[in-house]
Symmetry: C2
Subunit: 447 residues, 2 copies
Amino acid sequence: MTPRDAQAPSTALLTDRYELTMIDAALRDGTASRRCVFELFGRRLPGARRFGVVAGTGRLLQQLRDFRFGDDELRYLSDHRVVSRETLDFLAGYRFSGTIRGYREGELYFPGSPILIVEGTFAEAVVLETIALSILNHDSAVANAAARMSIAAGDRPLAEMGSRRAAEQSAVAAARAAYIAGFDATSNLEAGRAWGIPTMGTAAHAWTLLHDTEEQAFRSQIDALGTETTLLIDTYDIREGVATAIRVAGTALGGVRIDSGDLPAVAAAVRAQLDDLGATATKITVTSDLDEFAIAALAASPVDSYGVGTSVVTGSGAPTAGMVYKLVARQDAGGGWVAVAKTSTDKGSKGGRKAAFRTLDEGTATSELIVVSDGFEELSPASRHPDARPLLVTLVEQGETDAGYEGAAGVAAARAHHARVREELPVRALALSRSDPALPTVYTDAG
Amino acid sequence: MTPRDAQAPSTALLTDRYELTMIDAALRDGTASRRCVFELFGRRLPGARRFGVVAGTGRLLQQLRDFRFGDDELRYLSDHRVVSRETLDFLAGYRFSGTIRGYREGELYFPGSPILIVEGTFAEAVVLETIALSILNHDSAVANAAARMSIAAGDRPLAEMGSRRAAEQSAVAAARAAYIAGFDATSNLEAGRAWGIPTMGTAAHAWTLLHDTEEQAFRSQIDALGTETTLLIDTYDIREGVATAIRVAGTALGGVRIDSGDLPAVAAAVRAQLDDLGATATKITVTSDLDEFAIAALAASPVDSYGVGTSVVTGSGAPTAGMVYKLVARQDAGGGWVAVAKTSTDKGSKGGRKAAFRTLDEGTATSELIVVSDGFEELSPASRHPDARPLLVTLVEQGETDAGYEGAAGVAAARAHHARVREELPVRALALSRSDPALPTVYTDAG
């Protein structure tokens, strides 16, 4: 693994305590070194949606670099007697040296899709459960919602501006996930810096309220930001706001923003007024409590772009993707390979190593094909499914991360990949109503 | 303000772009230095609940210390031409030098409660909008849900274990907020280290699946963690799991955990089986998709403690508290004091400086009393409401933070404060059903 940034804080305690107590017991009974396969997947799509969007992978890879138990972390674990002295020694030397394959960031997923497959010893793989799930569950929940909004918006630009409705670091991750799933920009400056996402925004109601008149506020904003700026015209009376905006800026005004009211009616009235005043090129942005349904309902309205806040950062009703991280195969005492799965209840999973393919018919996706193996053999059903697109790529090989999936370049690649694979979806997958998944998940045995 | 930790990364770009463009324009027209009062409040309680719980204040104070524009931040803003050269110079010297009063962390709130009141120049106060809202909206959403779960659980211990269903840093903040609102422990180790919260957890299903038999898994866990540990008994057959657990551990086994199935039925069966086996002191913990309603439904079941995941970290249906940050008063061009508010629509706010009190009748809260002032005068209605408890404390005075609200000590104080003020609530406030707020918000004029 590439050396971690010396500045970066450790991510190793972003972990549930039971992972370390299991390592403690496994080091004691010798099972810590058993080779294991853990799988990260969703049992269902959140919110009865038709497809999911994988997001967070690139963030996980970066945080994996910083997943080291340093002096501070070890001191806490020691002071609070979380684990034994032997386990502290093991953790002090911890670095993930296994292999992670997974879906590319931006890829679509369906129930049972093996989004991440982590292979390594029990001890090195079990400890990644929480951080992997935290990142993938949050980011994919946002991406799932964002993709639907992007479909609803069609060609109209879509900006994420929900930072204030998400915890401060989640806000940055949410901006990133929304961008991957089709948004065009964000209000969040850190998302711009860290991930290369275009940022936007001009003024809040506070700007108008700060000034003694709306006209003074508009005039100052034009002076500072130019005629191309967007003026927020709904602080007092919207009709007067539009009239003042054009009187101050002229008909070359870039745009007006509406942040309240019954948007279809208000947008139509504002458009008519702008056109009457000769400001036919002045654009209208709307930003009031939009979600995918509200965006769809505005499709016929004279709106030029959308800003979405709360609903995208909170997953539009499904704030977590609900993915789980399960042991699906391991070595037994004799070194043999065993597929394993919880069997007691409804929360079962499918044991065995997996490979995954999207079958296509003339370019349109027809199924999520998951090939299950009980053993170590190579999983290469592509030969039997020549039209199937392989979904798994190697993200980490023997501890070495593929840097191509990280950073701003990784985000740009994920966004492009998402746009490409979304084109494969059948038309029915694009509807917003609640439904079964758009593709069936089909399991087949290897060999 | 106390010097920031040299290690801590800057929080200054956790900010919406429009805050900086407003500063840019305000520096140009001279309004940047107008004295302003911004107020952070909720227009309603999320999820039609009966009260809200303030959380995040201590985190905000710590992040405010790191809210500085350093070389990296300024370079990004310069490279992307977010603001002018003059504004970069202003930001380079930025440090909040104003005053923040607010509700204590752990305090209850109602619609319109002035949870934070930020006074300073326009430029120094407007730029805190996003970070203040991000932290308070997230943490209070979790605390709102957690308080209801804590009420439903009564005297039974309650652990937060939802890290996997929240973004990795939000998970730490969520554990903290849940603890303040009445939870007793968390699975999240970083929450333990950073905020002094007790941590818990023993083993996952992967532990049982790792071993060739359930018995071997239980035996190893007992060997490593002692008989006092909690065994997870639902990987295969629950009845066999319980029998195996007691056979291996003896009747002194600390506890068993059930993570699936129809909990009231399963808990009753497990309790009866444990008692039959003589393990009458072995405790039962349940952890499967609980929320406040499921906890309440288990009140008559033989359950000893609860672990709550998804629902608490996602606010149990209300993942953001929906608070806003609004300019409510400012100086005009002549230096006079003006109460301001958006007036166009349903999203209006109440202008003017505020003070806040909880009126009490024989120790039971009767109203949220908000005293509104149009001017600079002292707001001291306590003399007229001798039974009213003042709700605002000074968090930051001329840039100096009151350190008593920060760190693990701040968390402990907030948790104690919450427990105390929750005792003031009328009984009707403790019901879980959707309702109007339990207390009316009453506005009165100062003077």
